[in-house]
Amino acid sequence: MSILVFIDHSEGQIKKTSLEALCYGAALAKQTGVSAEGILLGQISEDLTTLGKYGVQKIHQVENESLNLVDAEQYIRIISSLAESSKASVIILSHTNTGRAIAPGLSARLKAGLVTGAISLPETANGFLVKKNVFSGKAVCTVSIKTSIKIISLNPNVYPIVSGSGAAEIVKENIPAQPAGFVIKSVSKASGEIPLTEAEIVVSGGRGMKGPENWGPIEELAKLLHAATACSRPVADAGWRPHHEHVGQTGIAIAPNLYIAVGISGAIQHLAGVNRSKVIVVINKDPEAPFFKSADYGIVGDAFEVLPGLIQAVKKLKGVA
């Protein structure tokens, strides 16, 4: 029996969320006395044996370059086949765009109970219980998975990456790839930006910033903190910031270590996207802004006066001019 971790990669790099999943899978394997193994589809120049330091013993690789393209149907077929041959009892993925594309289909194909967005290790003493956020982060529920094969997609930034030592064995799996059932016409990527769901720190702006031309200080603060930038819904709808920055109930849900909200009042729909952040800082001119009730730290003040002061302080902290 084994815990099988799906390792996602992009542009020659293994995704940070997959390293988290590997550590999670390794811990679960240790907890349940089985082996921890990984699956990687496609070609990557990184030395995969080093992944052993995250606690995984074996990596099954289907080294077909065409698989660098995420083709959900094909991934589901291949992962199912590998899960069966390696007698996987649990399959771990990340609750990212890739995970969302494949975990549900994998569940239906393997008749394996699925919990998406897990926030902690399963309790395995009595059954198999996994916690996840529900009601858009307002509550947590414990889910019992009743099937013999189980699938978990792990939320980003909830499980720490800890590296020890050890080398993983690479097993090249000979599974033929098929042509994808679709064609990619174009891909656009905001280069150099930290993906919001992977960012440990996020600096976010709302209507209080008054206009897109004022985003300079937010971007500067984010850059200094190695943070991603985000925004509230009205800001995205007004076209001040790109849609993929919109965090909230109908945008993206994030759980960074630090969420700095500037000029955002804190409507419930916005909170739903950020309430799982570990630390929330609210900067708003209005002392009655509801967001202060959910904040860990708050400053009542004009963003255009406070932000420069914060930027100065961060520069000092980082020893930057």
């Binding site: 289909g105 998406t116 009601f135 891909v187 961060v314």
Partner: protein
């Protein structure tokens, strides 16, 4: 073109979340129910737009739920749609819901099946993908745009930090998210018309329950905000570094 939109009933975004029965059940007393925003604003409205462009299209809606779901189904029909199906059983987990829908969709001859990205109550984000596999159709998740040309669909899908444009043949299941369409308000004509549109109640099929929620908990309340003077913003940075240890 035959289209199926999967719709789900969820508590309103401002609903008070509370649990009873030893934290095993969500308290529904006093809860206002709405159509899951992703299903309504994105999947349903896009389907209605497609039908407006091609009036010969047939648009069906499907929900899994008890009779108290009829109210929101009529609200959906007020926006658009020719006919609705309600599978008469309380929704359990994503797999059982997907299985109930699959029983209807499998032989329905649908060219396009639209679902919302996830529901705002259980955040499963799974029914669309499970349904696609159960009825052996491709699944395109996180689609922010959908355009049709004959038998072909062009989708813009969100990727991590960007987007990709994909072309794929119908039939297809699509998971819809923001960007797909704009929220609409039903007009009087729609509301009146919804009353006479067929709402067929279908008995559920037998499905094994793969997962079950055994308990709920509310997160511990926040300790209370620590206010820092606007005159001394550097104190915030110090606190974040020394105290919270997040920078």
């Amino acid at each position: 073109m035959k289209i199926l939109v999967c719709i789900s009933r969820t508590p309103d975004t401002t609903a008070k979340i509370a649990f009873a029965d030893n934290n095993r059940k969500f308290v529904t007393e006093g809860v206002q129910w709405i159509l899951n925003p992703y299903d309504e604003w994105y999947a349903l409205v896009r389907a209605i737009e497609i039908k407006e462009k091609d009036p010969s299209s047939v648009l069906h809606l499907v929900t899994v739920g008890g009779p108290d779901c009829d109210v929101v189904i009529r609200k959906a029909l007020a926006l658009g749609g020719d006919e609705a199906f309600r599978v008469n059983t309380e929704p359990q987990d994503s797999y059982s819901v997907a299985s109930q829908i699959a029983a209807i969709a499998r032989d329905g001859g649908y060219d396009l099946i639209l679902t919302g990205k996830e529901t705002i109550d259980y955040n499963g984000a799974s029914v669309g993908g499970m349904l696609a596999t159960l009825i052996d159709l491709p699944f395109m998740s996180l689609a922010a745009k959908l355009d049709l040309a004959g038998n072909s669909a062009t989708l813009v899908r969100e990727t991590e930090g960007g987007e990709e444009t994909v072309e794929i043949k119908l039939p297809l299941v699509v998971g819809c998210q923001k960007g797909m369409a704009e929220q609409r308000i039903p007009n009087m004509k729609g509301i009146m018309g919804a009353r006479s549109k067929p709402l067929k109640v279908v008995e559920p099929v037998n499905v094994d329950l793969f997962t079950e929620i055994v308990s709920f908990e509310l997160p511990p309340p926040k300790k209370g905000v620590k206010m820092i003077s606007a005159e001394n913003p550097e104190e915030l940075i110090t606190a974040l570094h020394d105290e919270a240890k997040v920078i």
